[in-house]
Symmetry: C2
Subunit: 439 residues, 2 copies
Amino acid sequence: MDNNENQELNLETVENLDDVTTVDLALQLSDYDDESLQKLCQKLGDEELARILEESELKTQLRIIEFLNNKRILKLFSYMSKDDIVDILGETNVGKAKELINLMKEGDKKIIKQLLGYRDDCAGGIMTTEYIAINSNLIIRDTIKKIKEIAPKTELIDTIFVVNRNKELIGTAELRDILVAPEEQKLQEITNEHFVYVEPETDQEEVALIASKYDLTAIPVLNKKKAMLGIITIDDIVDVLVEEQTEDVLKMGGVAKEETLDSTIWESVKLRLPWLFINLLTAFLASMTVKSFENTIAQVVALSSIMSIVTGMGGNTGTQTVSIIIRNIAMGKVDLKDAFYLIKKQILVGMINGAVIGVVTGIIISIIYGNIYLGIIIFGAMVANLVISGICGTLIPLILRKLKIDPALSSSIFLTTVTDVLGFFIFLSLANLFLPYLI
Amino acid sequence: MDNNENQELNLETVENLDDVTTVDLALQLSDYDDESLQKLCQKLGDEELARILEESELKTQLRIIEFLNNKRILKLFSYMSKDDIVDILGETNVGKAKELINLMKEGDKKIIKQLLGYRDDCAGGIMTTEYIAINSNLIIRDTIKKIKEIAPKTELIDTIFVVNRNKELIGTAELRDILVAPEEQKLQEITNEHFVYVEPETDQEEVALIASKYDLTAIPVLNKKKAMLGIITIDDIVDVLVEEQTEDVLKMGGVAKEETLDSTIWESVKLRLPWLFINLLTAFLASMTVKSFENTIAQVVALSSIMSIVTGMGGNTGTQTVSIIIRNIAMGKVDLKDAFYLIKKQILVGMINGAVIGVVTGIIISIIYGNIYLGIIIFGAMVANLVISGICGTLIPLILRKLKIDPALSSSIFLTTVTDVLGFFIFLSLANLFLPYLI
């Protein structure tokens, strides 16, 4: 809740922006037309516009960059974190990005080029190069002096990174400890040498889980030689978590992460059709399975209305298992070597649930159709299909993960194929076997 | 990555625990048997055990609390944050919790009782009462002195909360600004008076989204009179995000959030059966729809193998739409008043996708069964069902949300009911209409 939420933001009151107003204004800009946006850019000072640019949505950032000349953009960049600059440059058209990079100072150019080299969903892509690194030999008085100097230019000041003369990270020190330490003590003496770090290639979701596990407000990014490349701050980790959560929900529903509520109709159609076509293939496989039993169904039409109960329940059980496995894969708590133990459990759960659901369904079906054999068939098929869906619900995501295919995205399609095809097959085969008793 | 990850932790090396080792050890305890756990508790000093307790999983926390006498527990509590104490007390058996609270100092007792009164998934339930609040009239020199005093006892020091004499929050000050400000300046002069806050009843997911939006490292929790009750720190917000992400994935798969990989077979059975029974109801509804067309199917058995293609594709399209809507509801970006605009779009997307998928399916079916009317029927049913699933995929989660029913949990069941029942109904009705051309 914003203590000022009913106050309309407008172009006349954009001076002396504080953090909260900056964010609110930045997020409103997506509704601005080109003219208003240009007016705002002219009106705002460089530092204010830079803050707004940092907090805006990507589309707005690119629109603003389009309006401004290179000189002004570089001025704005001088107020911005390197990771935010890189995010923008990575999405700008390549020509403009190259132009801007060439106009930068040598030192900046080098850092920006390096950061642009990392994928934007790994540690290197979300790290910032603004942090406080101090040599372990400094005494506390000089350390504090140095912190005061650097503080205004960094994102984070409560954790100080302590390095040796080769710029290798040897530990971290907390600002609170520094503030209360004797002035003549060496920084090294209050340095905690047991720290957690990531490499620039580490996946951003893993970075977030490490931060969450160790309650870190910043994670250092080190190269193979343990030299510091940058840090990942907690606000970027929070953004990663929100982004990954969105991706998980969309992926499990068969939607590309690129689709939003603002997507045009054509974008939605283009993003969704591939998924629907893959599913169509599955649907045809199941359909062909049923087709091969047409003779049986022709003799006992009741089978046609009952069979989808078996496949439906198989799909549901499988999805339950898949969800648990997928989430535990993402949290790094399970992999293929646990499969044997997990499957043993899922088989038992499937047998018990299958028996309970199967008995209830069997009784109801026996009564409705006045044939106890139909009930027995659906009981048998239900137990079998629920056991199969438990096994596949466990194995499919673990195998996909092993093959480096995203299990959240692809598990459901393989699972449905198995539970539909085998569900129909088992039920109709059993019906075939009992055919004399059904007619 | 832990720079020490291959070093086995054991009971002999648990002195002078640093943060990283504490977390690693705390998380390992779930594998300890009772005897080892008791040994560890005896061996560790109060402060070390308190740190371990804070970082352990809930089950381990409760086991440790069982082993210790009240006196030792209270000693441990003196080293712990109030929010962590409350999390443990809230899950301990009520008798023991009351005993412990009664043994506490008056001041602590009051705070703990107040915190226990909040639901554990709202701001009040995750806030801590350890923070730095300083009167706005203090000058910088005294402010720094005060910060040094309080710092060792608080979770967070980089944001200082500035209050007036009635303990009402009037703004925040950044430690970095305080460190570089002139010693004689008043704190008020560098206070940012535009801040974001939440109330104790605010849902934890909303708190997390606010923190993410404004890049906050701590959010103050205020009562109606704007007096400070506590703060929510970023590490708890990260935990909320991870927890909510797990819940979302499980809910969408029809699994209770209580089920984990460690759940026993009986726990899994008990947690999953209710969901399967609800789905069984849906399956029967669909089955009865088909049953009412048994005469039609008896005359054209091919219908039995084709009909599930229509319902399957309807389910997929609906799930795509539901996923996008659910996620945007969770992010606070959409509600029922946007329904009209959203549905218009989904109808168009459904028509286009339905037409594309319908034409492909229709052609294949016409060829397989040598009957062009079958192809026309499936085309019509496909377009109709995909439009319906787009409408329902949008409306169902929005209406559930309005009725205060969790859309992530319940949308799929209502959606499947509609797309299955209507899918079968439309396809078989069309078949009935064209019956003379199919035989």
